[in-house]
């Protein structure tokens, strides 16, 4: 593999760089590097409280701005049907770098606060106006209803009283000399009128009755329309009430009770003319209010529309500025020299790109002082960075979910691009179902650009993220579908079958010609079809499993070379390989050999491989000649057993022995180790001298803080090796058996497919009547839905999960070390999904 291009085989080589950034360029530099998305800054002030960092003031201001944009967002959200928000790529951009950037941000701050105050005032006045409208509406109802009461009472009293048709006649009076134009207070029978919530009315009546001992007359009616509270959109239903009573004390009590029950009291005149006047006045005021309310609404909407035109660009700017200042807070500030010192991890390959970006930032900002980039030597572990593209990122993500690879170790994600869809397909093999998931994947890929922009929701978003994985899964499934000869539970007859059924017999006769590609269609529908396919699939699972594990084991070797521990090849790799091959490699060879022998021409009947393996362990060396697979088997098996037996102590002891020898060599040579081996003493690079030479001011880059030591304690090595040996040896057996899931799932899939066919479309494909056609239509529809829902989606997810498990447990345990941390560069694009 050439070194000019990045390869997914290992994570990229990273360098620790130091940046000396003059304060004037700092903002623009970080902006440029953020757009680039290739630099991971380290926190040089880990012990500093977030409230004591240098750029806290700016961050506070930006937080205010972002709060305002969130407020606008919420306001527009409430009226989103009427107020359009222009998407980001259509907005006019705001320039936040260069000599005018500070001005732009200040202007933005002012604009945002102005809009905020405008909107708040508009909202408040709208609120107040709505309140007034409500009160006036209630007053209008009260006026109307009390008019009804008074009229009713008037008709009643005219039966009681003999004189006056004057509408100003009081209802009941003991004084005949009172006449005309009285205010409510001067009547002997006074009243209190108002509104109260409907639910409170019975309680109100009861309380009044008890308090006043029945000395009252109350009437109430419903108000038909409910009142809607504009801020909470809650409906309340109210009633109008009027209470007649006599005496100041009584009236005061009534008023108190009414207020305590949350009723609103309205001053109503007993005089009908005055009431009519009041009603007219209320109506006029209501009309005016409605107009003002309407205008306020229009004005508010206009404001929101104006905001909506630029809201996205504001949110973008605010978000970027926040990130920039948070990053600037990570830097070390040298007060005397007016520079900021930053440390960052950068892929070594991209150093030139970063240099160009820095130069570009200087030009943009208009200053002449460029930031200086300086590479550091360090023994710290760099982050793990796999450079992926849209095709490989899905596969890398699913392997990263198990654990991030250690720095520069072999990346299992590269091989998973092929092996994962392949193992999926072994469990999913069906031409038709493979085709369905293939077209689903192709559809998503063709609509990539559009789908990437929209918010697809969690579930569809997950499928979209894995569209290339699904594509590969579909392709491989079609291939294994041809091999299993399964198309929606039917078989294809592409070639001449290897079986004939002479004279209409029920038992096949082998013609000697093997079906060249896949499973012979003669097996379809046979009563013993499952016996044959089970044997075939189980053996295939074991063969594929052992080969997969061998492959994964071999991936150890490049790691041993890269990390300079060649001895591990002899202490770990070779005993592991010999152990695996002498038992399970031998089993695979026996499977293949047994298949290749024509047992009809052999004097021995075909032996059971399972029994053979068991007796290999229980009775080594003894092979019954009637049941032997090949001559000399006993001897070969004893040798293999011996090799496996030797491998266990070899694996267990050799590495600790070497570590013990090393330890004695170093202590013998007089080195006083700090509990570490010789290796770390060599690996440590002192960088303090280099740094002191550069710095003279207060700022000191804390590049060498804590050392990283691996505990090369002898005890640790022993324990680790014991665990490793047990895990590997037991794991060999359990993992090999675990691969039988390849058989199990493909069996389940085939059976489900067959059952679905037999329960829906079987026998209905040749309709002979209208009913038949209708049945075909309905059942066909059901068949299609269940195929997609159960066989493709459910079985697909199941096979996906199991294939993933095989990679994570059976595959990775043979070579994967893990323990790395992912490369997390400052990237504006990456933070795109987070809100401002």
């Amino acid at each position: 593999m050439s070194d000019d291009y990045p390869s997914l085989l290992r994570s990229e080589r990273m360098s620790l760089v130091q940046l000396f950034v003059p304060t004037e360029v700092a903002h623009d530099t970080v902006h440029e590097l953020g757009e680039l998305g290739d630099v991971q800054f380290k926190d040089l002030n880990p012990s500093v409280n977030p409230f004591q960092r240098s750029f806290v003031g700016e961050i506070r201001r930006i937080d205010d701005m972002s709060r305002r944009t969130r407020f606008f967002d919420a306001q527009i959200e409430k009226e989103k049907d009427v107020v359009p928000v222009r998407p980001l790529y259509e907005c006019a951009p705001l320039l936040t770098v260069g000599p005018r950037s500070a001005q732009t941000v200040d202007e933005l701050d002012t604009t945002l606060s102005q809009y905020e105050s405008k909107l708040t005032t508009l909202n408040e006045s709208y609120q107040t106006l709505s309140e007034r409208t409500r009160e006036l509406t209630e007053a209008r109802h009260v006026l109307r209803e009390t008019a009804v009461f008074f009229d009713k009472a008037h008709t009643q009293t005219s039966n009681i009283r003999s004189s006056f048709d004057d509408s100003a006649t009081p209802l009941l009076t003991s004084h005949d000399d009172r006449e005309g134009g009285y205010s409510a207070g001067s009547f002997d029978l006074e009243f209190v009128a108002g509104t109260i919530e409907r639910s409170r009315v019975p309680t109100f009546e009861r309380v009044l009755w008890r308090v006043l001992r029945g000395n009252l007359y109350m009437n109430h009616t419903d108000i038909a329309e409910p009142f809607i509270d504009p801020s909470t959109n809650a409906e309340t239903r109210k009633n109008v009430f009027i209470i007649f009573a006599h005496g100041d004390v009584v009236l005061a009590k009534i008023r108190k009770v009414a207020e305590s029950m949350g009723a609103t009291i309205f001053p109503i005149d007993a005089n009908a003319d005055k009431r009519a006047d009041a009603l007219r006045e209320v109506e006029n005021r209501l009309e005016d209010l409605q107009t003002v309310l309407y205008n306020t609404g229009i004005g508010r909407r206009a404001e929101l529309v104006k905001i909506g035109e630029s809201l996205r660009v504001w949110q973008d700017v605010v978000k970027k500025e926040k990130l920039i200042y948070e990053t600037l807070n990570l830097f070390n500030y040298d007060v005397r020299r007016k520079t900021l010192i930053a440390e960052a991890w950068v892929p070594t390959r991209d150093l030139t790109k970063i240099q160009l970006a820095l130069r570009h930032a200087t030009e943009e900002s208009g200053t002449s002082v460029p930031p200086i980039l300086h590479e550091l030597q360090t023994s710290k572990t760099p982050p793990t960075f796999h450079r992926t593209n849209k095709f490989t990122e899905g596969f890398q993500a699913i392997m990263d979910s198990y654990g991030i690879s250690a720095y520069q170790e072999i990346n299992p994600g590269l091989f998973a691009i092929t092996t994962f869809p392949f193992l999926f397909a072994v469990m999913f093999g069906d031409i038709g179902h493979g085709f369905i998931i293939l077209i689903a994947a192709v559809y998503m890929i063709l609509r990539e650009k559009a789908m990437a922009k929209q918010d697809n929701g969690e579930i569809i978003g997950q499928f979209f993220y894995g569209r290339y994985i699904i594509l590969m899964m579909g392709l491989f499934s079609i291939y294994t579908g041809f091999l299993y000869n399964d198309l929606f539970s039917k078989t294809l007859h592409l070639f001449h079958s290897g079986w004939t059924f002479p004279d209409n017999s029920t038992r096949g006769v082998y013609t000697g010609h093997t079906y060249p590609f896949g499973l012979d269609p003669a097996w379809h529908g046979a009563t013993n079809a499952l016996v044959f396919t089970n044997s075939y699939k189980m053996k295939m699972s074991i063969v594929l499993g052992v080969i997969h594990m061998t492959f994964a084991l071999c991936l150890q070797v490049p790691n041993h070379f890269r990390f300079k521990r060649k001895s591990d090849i002899y202490t770990n790799f070779i005993p592991q390989m010999l152990f695996l091959q002498s038992i399970f490699g031998y089993l695979v060879l026996c499977i293949l050999y047994k298949w290749s022998v024509d047992w009809t021409k052999s004097p021995v009947s075909p032996p059971s491989l399972l029994n053979m393996l068991i007796t290999m362990f229980l009775e080594p060396g003894k092979v019954d000649p009637e049941k032997q697979l090949y001559p000399g088997q006993g001897f070969v098996q004893t040798v293999l057993l011996g090799i496996a037996g030797v491998c266990v102590p070899w694996l267990l002891i050799s590495k600790p022995y070497l570590a013990w020898r090393e330890m004695h060599k170093t202590t013998g040579a007089g080195y006083v180790t700090l509990g570490n081996g010789e290796e770390t003493a060599i690996a440590r690079h002192s960088t303090d001298e280099t740094l002191e030479g550069e710095e003279e001011g207060n700022g000191r880059a804390i590049a060498e803080g804590d050392e990283e030591h691996e505990g090369h304690d002898f005890g640790d090595v022993v324990i680790h090796q014991i665990i490793h040996t047990i895990e590997f040896c037991l794991g060999c057996i359990s993992h090999t058996a675990s691969y039988l899931r390849l058989w199990a799932l493909s069996l389940a899939h085939a059976q489900l497919s067959e059952v679905l066919w037999s329960m829906t479309l079987d026998g209905r494909t040749d309709p002979k009547s209208i009913g038949g056609w209708i049945g075909l239509g309905i059942m066909g529809f059901m068949w299609l839905n269940l195929t997609i829902g159960i066989l493709c989606l459910m079985e697909g997810l199941s096979a996906f999960l199991h294939a993933l498990r095989l990679h994570w447990v059976e595959g990775n345990s043979k070579h994967f070390e893990g323990g790395g941390y992912p490369f997390a560069p400052l990237s504006f694009a990456g933070e795109g999904s987070k809100e401002a």
């Binding site: 392949f422 029920t506 093997t514």
Partner: protein, 73 residues
Amino acid sequence: MASLFPIFLVLAITLGLMSASFLFVRKGPNQAVIRTSLMLTFAVCYLTWMVTYLAQLHPLMVPTFSAPPAHTA
């Protein structure tokens, strides 16, 4: 006549295809991915085909039906 010859023939073809993909994939940022994927694909496709073919070469059981099957050979 069923023999082991096709297995070795197709093995040779597969090895040829694997070598060709190793040698002739042009340099570029995706060379490693394309090479690995192609080689692995050829290898696993061969393996599964080979196992299927081998399993039916000298079958130990015959397909039996409850009623005589009506199909063309």
